[in-house]
Structures are given as structure tokens and as C-alpha cells.
Amino acid sequence: MEFPIAGVEVNPFLLAGIGFLVGIMSGFFGVGGGFIASPLMFWAGVPMNFVVGTDLAHMTGKSIVAARRHHALGHVDIKLGLVMVGGTILGVECGAQVIEVLKTLGVVDVVIGWAYVIILLTVGVFTVWESLRALRIVQDDSLEVQDTVGFAGIARRVHILNLPPMISFPTSGIASISLWVVLGVGFVTGCLAGTLGVGGGFIRMPMLVYVVGVPTHMAVGTDLFEIVISAGYGSLTHALKGNVDVLMALVMQTGAALGAQIGAVSTRFFTGPRIRLLFSGLPLLGAAMMLIRLLGAGLIPF
């Protein structure tokens, strides 16, 4: 089928299939899935500028479905999401500026590529280690498995940090936390997302759990709510630059809507540490994909 805006012929079932696959991941892990969808769309023959813009557009629609489902399950802290989004948007703009500086220095591909690999490997390895530790704690001490975190030290220290103004998030069970911490988490994840050109859910979700101290199920839902706003903003700016094929995004969304529902419902069958253990595979997969791309582009001497 021809998509005249992007000027390419792509099988719509393939696009819906990509949407379905990424939708399941989105609903289950609370990530946008851009780091998986982008290479698949590029592989399907979509030009790179349309890959970035269209992926963000379909991510917006898909995240709405998943966020609504999580909201119905009581897994979205709207207050936390709204507070964090200020930092996220500022971070995304900052990340875009970093890209411009790297472009002028002529080192954008190699720096971003390596940053991607290092960050994804760190997040993946840390999450594996922590979730296995949490599962061991549950086994040894017969603790309630749902919200056990094997590495709660950072969140505990962050909660006692007295840097006004302080704010509470009762939905997430946080009595008091510095507003700057929440904005900082949004800024850092937004900055990384803006620099790496992805939604940033795979970084934001673990940071919400380990730094802010949000329970895993709530982190998944709140992260999706955050993605709706940040991806909506991103898709609007890309559409203004002519990088979005709306028809393509609508087709992908039909698959993603079902996937997101199934993913969100599936979280009810898994405990927090198990979700995080499964989640850890995503950044590791992303790191492997980036290493392959770097090797293919000859940016790693082999």
C-alpha cells in the first residue's frame, strides 16, 4: 500500500504488526518502545526522518490507550506525571541542543552511539541485579512481593533530603519529597531522551522506582501518562517540520491499541520485581541493537 506523504510503499499489516508488538511492551513495561519500533520501521522501508516523527505520533495514541487502561487499574499518579513533565520538556530541549553541538563537532554518531550502549547496559545490568535481589529478599524474609525493591537505599535517602519546596504524592505513597528531585528526574530523563532521540521510558521507569520510590505498577502507569504529553509535544513539533505521516501512524495505532491493552492487563499477573526483571531485557536488547548498528556503520573498529 502506498503512503503518499512519506512517499513509500509499505505493507499496512506489517506496520500494524510492529504497532502490536510495541504496544504489548508499552502496556506491560510503561515504555514508548521507540528504540525497538524505529529500527523495525526503518527496516520496513520508511525514510529515517519519517521514522522518528511517525513513531512519536503513533506512540502518543498508543500511550493514551495504555495510560487509560492503567488509570482504570489505579496505576497512574497524575499529580506526579504533571509535575515531572515540566522537567522532561526542558530536558528534551536541552538534549536537542547537545545534539546540535555534537553535530558541529562532527562526532554525533560515535558519541551518541556509545552513550546509548553505556546507558542501556548500565540500566539493564542494574535492573537484573536489583530485581533478582528483591526476589531473594522476598524468598528469605517472606515479605510482601508486590512492591519489594532490592535497592531501596537511594529512594530512602532522597525522601529525607530537605530541599524546599517539599511536595507529597499520596497516590504513590510518598509523604514528602523535594520538588527539585521530581523535576530533576524529569530533566535528566528528558535530556537523555532528547539526546538519544527516544521517548525515554526505559530510563524514566527505573528512575521512578529507584530514585523517587514509586511502586513498580504505579511507575509503569505514570511513565505512560508522561509519554502521552512528551510524545504529543514531540510529534507536534515533528509534524510542523513535515516529518510525520499521519496515515502511517493511524495504521500502526490500530495494532498498538490492542497490544497496549493486553500488555496493561498482563501486569496483573506479575509482581513488581518480576516485571522489572523482564523489563531489564529491553535495555540490553537496545544496547545489542545499537552495537550492531555501530559495527555496521564502521564506527567500531572490528
Partner: protein
């Protein structure tokens, strides 16, 4: 395989089939209706195209959410715990 899991998988396949048929029909109709006006808007007014695109995505997101929620409830896919 446990009976619960078997029911879950069976319902999942049914939902996938029903939704697949509905979504295919919808995509064919929507693409046919929207294709030309969107292409015209893309080449004449990018701002209107961007805003229309975002609205379409948001509206479709909510509509698909209602359809998939309906299917999930009808097939009791979300109630097996």
C-alpha cells in the same frame, strides 16, 4: 496446561481474530477517506496538518481504547487472576 491459562489463550486468539477483522475494515475505510485530504493539507498548510494529525491520533486512540476494552470485557480476558 492449566485450564485458566487455556481459557486465557483461547480468548486471546478470539479477540485477536475479531479485532483483526474490525481493524482491517476500519483501516481500509479510514485510509480511503482520509488519504486525499491529508495529502492536500500536508502540501498546503503544515500547521493545520500537524494539528489535524494530532487530533486524529488522539480521537482514534480513545475510540480504539473503547473497542479493545469492550472486547476484553466481553471475553473476560482481564478478569482471570
Amino acid at each position: 496446561m492449566r485450564p485458566k491459562m487455556r481459557t486465557l489463550l483461547r480468548n486471546f486468539v478470539i479477540e485477536l481474530t475479531v479485532y483483526g477483522v474490525v481493524a482491517t475494515a476500519y483501516v481500509v475505510v479510514v485510509l480511503r477517506l482520509l488519504s486525499e485530504p491529508l495529502v492536500r493539507l500536508f502540501s498546503s498548510n503544515l500547521t493545520a496538518y500537524a494539528l489535524t494529525g494530532l487530533i486524529l491520533i488522539l480521537v482514534q486512540g480513545v475510540l480504539l481504547d473503547i473497542v479493545t476494552s469492550f472486547l476484553l470485557d466481553r471475553l473476560r480476558l482481564g478478569r482471570l487472576e
